[in-house]
């Protein structure tokens, strides 16, 4: 027994000594790291849509719209002396759109307030990863500005990974504090149809969101994630330049409740079928207290052309019930408390199909430019049962 105690004491002393020596060595070998650029992402897209159910003109009229969106992201990181990773994500996006329906807010002008607009939305996020504890803390701020709308957002999050790196739980809280500059249809500017807002008033819209995610590696080829987002909105939720025509042909500005509670839950499952094919699947069920129920299902098989490139065919199906406040043009009753003829809140289903190409090459680079790490291009065609259809093409470049 005595021998055992002496041996244990000697081992403990040696271990403690060696451990101290290692720590001393780490501190003396540690060189202060500077922030380095991990990656730069550039994404741009062109979107065009057309339909005949514009909300601005009461549910009938052109919905023609084009949008050019660009996003530029820089990710910087550094390791501290304890090997914890600090990451800063800086992002700026610019949308430039033209909307034929917005031109009908005031048809007497050549171009009204929202006919053409630019939206700028910068954001900054910081994350701190403790590799030993396998935890990540993050926080960020975001802004969005356009002619009649301004938004400030903030978020905080936490993620914990299991010891074997096969499971991760994350939680994220987000809040957006938005301000509308109210624009009414021209004929209602001197005679508003309700007391919600007058023309040129500033009105708030706040959104709060709690996102939960649990991901799990099932086996060498299969992993899933369970996702939930609980959302609550308050403030001016109606778009006041949308017209609503009643059964007596009178016109009012859209009116909707000042609160909305949303519960979407989703599951994502990705499966590596064989050496060449990856199947990406997603399903979401959504419910809100405006009586909208929806189902979203997407399926994207991806075929590896070579070790570095792949071709994918994304498909998405979506179906929703109508909000209890929706009705078509000239169908609303005068006694209705809330009313809208916005077909985005009507009952419909939609299909989207596309084609994507991805290539990555960290050795030679893309197009023989070594800095370009990956190149993606993706096209999507979207069609809705109420006649709206759209095309979107997106290009993404990653620099390292």
């Amino acid at each position: 027994m005595k021998k055992r105690l002496i041996t244990a004491a000697c081992l403990a002393f040696l271990f403690a000594h060696q451990s101290k020596a290692q720590n001393d060595s780490i501190s003396s070998n540690y060189k202060k790291q500077k922030l380095k650029i991990e990656e730069i992402n550039f994404i741009t897209s062109y979107y065009t849509q057309d339909g005949n159910n514009s909300a601005v003109t009461g549910g009938e009229g052109t919905e023609k719209l084009t949008d050019i969106a660009t996003n530029f992201e820089v990710i910087l990181s550094k390791k501290d002396k304890r090997n914890n990773v600090h990451t800063i994500d800086l992002n700026v996006g610019i949308d430039s759109y033209s909307s034929a329906s917005s031109d009908k807010i005031d048809p007497s002008t050549v171009t009204s307030a929202s006919y053409q607009d630019i939206r700028i939305y910068p954001s900054a996020n910081y994350s701190y990863e403790n590799e030993e504890k396998k935890t990540v803390y993050n926080a960020g701020v975001s802004f969005s500005a356009e002619y009649d709308y301004f938004s400030i957002g903030a978020n905080v999050g936490f993620a914990k990974t299991s010891k074997d790196n096969n499971r991760e739980f994350s939680v994220k809280g987000m809040a957006f504090f938005d301000t509308w500059k109210v624009i009414l249809p021209i004929e209602l500017r001197n005679n508003p149809s309700d007391n919600d807002a007058r023309h040129n008033d500033s009105k708030p819209r706040n959104s709060y969101n709690l996102g939960l995610a649990l991901s799990q590696v099932i086996n060498k080829n299969f992993q899933i994630a369970l996702l939930a987002d609980i959302g609550y909105q308050e403030g001016l939720l109606a778009t006041k330049f949308n017209r609503v025509y009643f059964e007596d042909l009178s016109v009012r500005s859209e009116k909707l409740p000042n609160t909305r509670f949303k519960i979407p839950i989703g599951i994502r499952g990705n499966y590596f079928l064989n050496d060449k094919i990856v199947l990406r699947t997603f399903y979401r069920y959504y419910y809100d207290n405006w009586n909208i129920n929806s189902h979203t299902f997407s399926f994207e098989p991806s075929y590896k052309l070579t070790e570095f490139s792949s071709l994918s065919i994304p498909y998405r199906f979506y179906q929703q019930s109508q909000a209890k406040y929706f009705d078509a043009k000239n169908q609303h009753e005068l006694t209705n408390e809330y009313y809208t003829s916005d077909y985005d809140l009507s009952k419909f289903s939609s299909n989207m199909i596309g084609l994507g190409y991805h290539v990555v090459d960290s050795n030679k680079g893309i197009f023989n430019i070594k800095r370009i790490h990956s190149f993606d291009i993706r096209y999507g065609y979207y069609t809705r049962t109420d006649g709206l259809d759209s095309h979107i093409i997106t290009l993404a470049l990653q620099f390292k």
Binding site: S144, M174, K220, Q223, I265, Q320, T394
Partner: protein, 69 residues
Amino acid sequence: MKKTFIAFLSLVAFCSCSSVKEYQKSKINDAEMALTAKKTEKFENTFQLYREASSGANGGKTGGGCGCN
């Protein structure tokens, strides 16, 4: 659709999760296997958020901005 979802959840529940070692994760770590939306889906998610009444649980934007056009 609900039945399909329940069937899928049951399938997942009955799938035994095996502890996968780091050296066995060459496929799990493939970029196509990421459990998030692809970067090229960013703007698709945005227009779907505006053109449809639902949002959230897809890693996309869930609030902020008017989406009124």
